[in-house]
């Protein structure tokens, strides 16, 4: 890597003509500019990932270091013998892995649908920027704060929690529910809190894409008597398919790693009902000191993300072609 090739023979698209000639000997200079980044990335990302993969096939209990190779034992135990990670013994299956899948489906779908609906609806009213700001603000705040805001909404005491109070207002015989204290409701309660926090992202991206659609096409359709629904369904939605895919991929990558909101709102409880992979990882590794076991979970997260990364790079390439 250290032998500077002749200028112009660079992989990819070299700066043409004069620039390349003037950049004589700049091969070294290029490496000089990227070297701080390469050192940090090597020490803090690349080497650690390799180390984590090594640790995942190790007992790794002492000092979070490899000391006893155990093959795929950690993975075998995670997938067959750890009820908090994956429990297939009864229906419906449960555990952190199943919950993460539930998060991927519900959270992603709700964020995209709500974000799209708000972007489209808001584009038709005068107070568009106001409504978009209201939806977007939670994007700026910490998941820890979002957790506090929603724990208070979900409070089982109807003199504190607005959700129970509202339900009691509708039906005075309503028995207050401990939304995050019950196994049946805790996941949906936390997922909705996080949807509340992330919908703004989907909305902003889709709204920007919506503004990019030529108004002439829509006006023409309208003159031809197309209804609003037809315009949305036949013109806007197909043209938004790429931005929708982008947002979906981003949300899925994000939610595979979901941690803060679960850690603060329920800690994975009650009795493991709301566990997610990142929370199990944190507890086993840093509370339990089981480095190898935790590393195996990190590797599973990595394996879940790689297909999505492959999809993303393909898109990156196809976009470069069309540009």
């Amino acid at each position: 890597m250290s032998t500077p090739a002749a200028p112009g023979s660079v992989v990819g698209k070299p700066p043409p003509g004069r620039l390349a000639r003037l950049g004589r000997g700049s091969g070294w200079q290029g490496f000089f500019f990227i070297s701080p980044a390469l050192v940090l990335l090597g020490a803090l990302l690349v080497y650690p990932v390799v180390w984590t993969v090594r640790l995942s096939v190790d007992k790794g209990r002492r000092q979070l270091e490899p000391h006893e190779f155990v093959g795929l034992d950690n993975f075998k135990r995670l997938l067959t013998d750890d009820r908090r990670f994956l429990d297939l013994s009864e229906f419906p299956p449960s555990g952190a892995l199943i919950n993460n899948l539930r998060w991927i489906v519900l959270y992603t779908a709700l964020c995209v649908i709500l974000g799209l609906a708000i972007a489209v609806l808001a584009s038709r009213v005068r107070y568009e920027s106001l409504i978009k700001a209201v939806i977007f603000v939670p994007m700026a705040i910490s998941a820890t704060a979002v957790a506090m805001i929603w724990l208070f909404v979900y409070s089982p005491d109807p003199d504190q929690g607005v959700l129970n109070a509202a339900l009691q207002g509708i039906n005075s015989g309503f028995d207050p529910i401990s939304w995050v204290g019950r196994e049946g409701t805790v996941n949906y309660a936390i997922i909705f809190a996080y949807v509340w926090a992330s919908t703004g992202f989907a909305m902003v991206v889709l709204s920007a894409a919506l503004k990019g659609i030529s108004t002439e096409v829509i006006e023409a359709a309208r003159t031809d008597g197309a209804t609003d629904w037809a315009i949305f369904r036949r013109i806007q939605l197909p043209l938004l398919s790429l931005p929708i895919a982008v947002v979906t991929v981003w949300l899925i990558i994000n939610v595979i790693k979901v941690f803060d909101i679960v850690y603060v709102m329920s800690g994975g409880g009650p009795s493991g009902a709301s566990e997610v992979i990142a929370n199990r990882y944190f507890i086993e590794t840093f509370d339990g000191g089981k480095g190898g076991y935790g590393a195996a979970m990190a590797v599973i997260m990595l394996l879940m993300i790689i297909p999505i990364m492959a999809f993303n790079i393909r898109r990156f390439r196809s976009e470069a072609v069309t540009r």
């Binding site: 890597m1 290029g30 390469l38 990932v49 180390w51 700026a140 790693k257 990142a278």
Partner: protein, 293 residues
């Protein structure tokens, strides 16, 4: 956020506009309901943060809005007794270098990836972009081990380095995508005049890239300020804990003491909200350029 072009619609009579408004009533109702779902939770906690402790237990915050019987004692007690004032400074002390370091190192690298020819340039760039999706969980254990060996777990250096390393792929990606849009003639002209790469970087590229630099800086600052996971792992000295960790500790120590948790949460949210409302344009730009090219 783009301002809507409503001026294009032709002038119509009052009755026509009235019909239009009424036919859009379902849209208005839907938007108002959504706005309420987004506002009520935060407003509830905000009102609660100004209520006296016995009042919070006795009645709902929605009954208290008209009372005007508010106090700022919750804020003074979390700031003093719960060390939130120190935690606020710690958060700043963590977030500022954790923003500047990746910004500088990332800009240097992004400049080389855009305007200097060197072997394997695009391959290295693609490899760095691919690192963007590595979950930090796949790096935390070895990085912690490394910091223990370097004996920096008891200082801020560890968390600065961790945030810098984890942010670099995104920084390089975002800044490079901006740098390559700068006019080629300008940079070639500077080269012809004999300017060094370092000179071109600092005198030509950086001044022209303020919007992109600001977008990344704001994005990264908020990311670090709001971070809990890295802080839990890399800040091991109790005197150096940031706001996020302090609030989580408050919650586990006292349970649902909402007069403390509500005030603490708003102290945590204060700076992000200020940044958001004053610099919303850059924030949204950063978000858009990071996701859709």
């Amino acid at each position: 956020m783009a301002v809507v072009e409503t001026a294009a619609t032709p002038r119509t009579t009052l009755s026509e506009r009235l019909v239009g408004w009424i036919s859009r009533t379902p849209v208005h109702i839907a938007l108002v309901v959504l706005a309420l779902i987004w506002l009520v939770p935060s407003v509830g906690l905000l009102v609660t943060s100004f209520r006296k402790r016995p009042d919070i237990a006795a009645s709902g915050w929605w009954e208290a809005i008209g009372d005007l019987d508010f106090t700022i004692k919750n804020y003074s007690s979390v700031l003093d007794a719960q060390n939130m004032a120190d935690a606020f400074l710690n958060s700043l002390f963590i977030a500022v270098p954790s923003t500047i370091l990746p910004l500088m190192i990332g800009a240097l690298a992004a400049f080389a990836f855009s305007w200097i020819a060197f072997p394997f340039r695009d391959t290295v760039f693609l490899a760095i972009v691919a690192l963007m999706v590595v979950p930090i969980q796949a790096a935390l254990i070895p990085v912690l081990k490394l910091f223990r060996e370097l004996d920096i777990t008891d200082s801020f250096i560890g968390i600065w380095l961790a945030h810098t390393g984890f942010a670099l792929p995104f920084a390089i990606f975002l800044l490079r995508n901006f740098f390559i849009t700068l006019p080629r003639d300008l940079i070639e002209a500077a080269r012809v005049d004999g300017a060094s790469n370092l000179h071109i970087f600092s005198r030509v590229v950086l001044p022209l890239s303020v919007p992109a630099l600001a977008s990344f800086a704001i994005f990264q600052f908020l990311w670090v300020w709001n971070d809990l996971l890295n802080a839990l792992i890399f800040v091991q000295n109790p005197d150096q804990r940031p706001l996020t960790v302090t609030i989580v500790n408050l919650q586990s120590a006292y349970g649902a003491e909402w007069h403390l948790l509500s005030a603490g949460s708003f102290i945590l949210m204060l700076l992000p909200l200020l940044v958001f409302f004053s610099l919303q344009r850059f924030f949204v730009q950063g978000l858009l350029s990071g996701s859709v090219k």
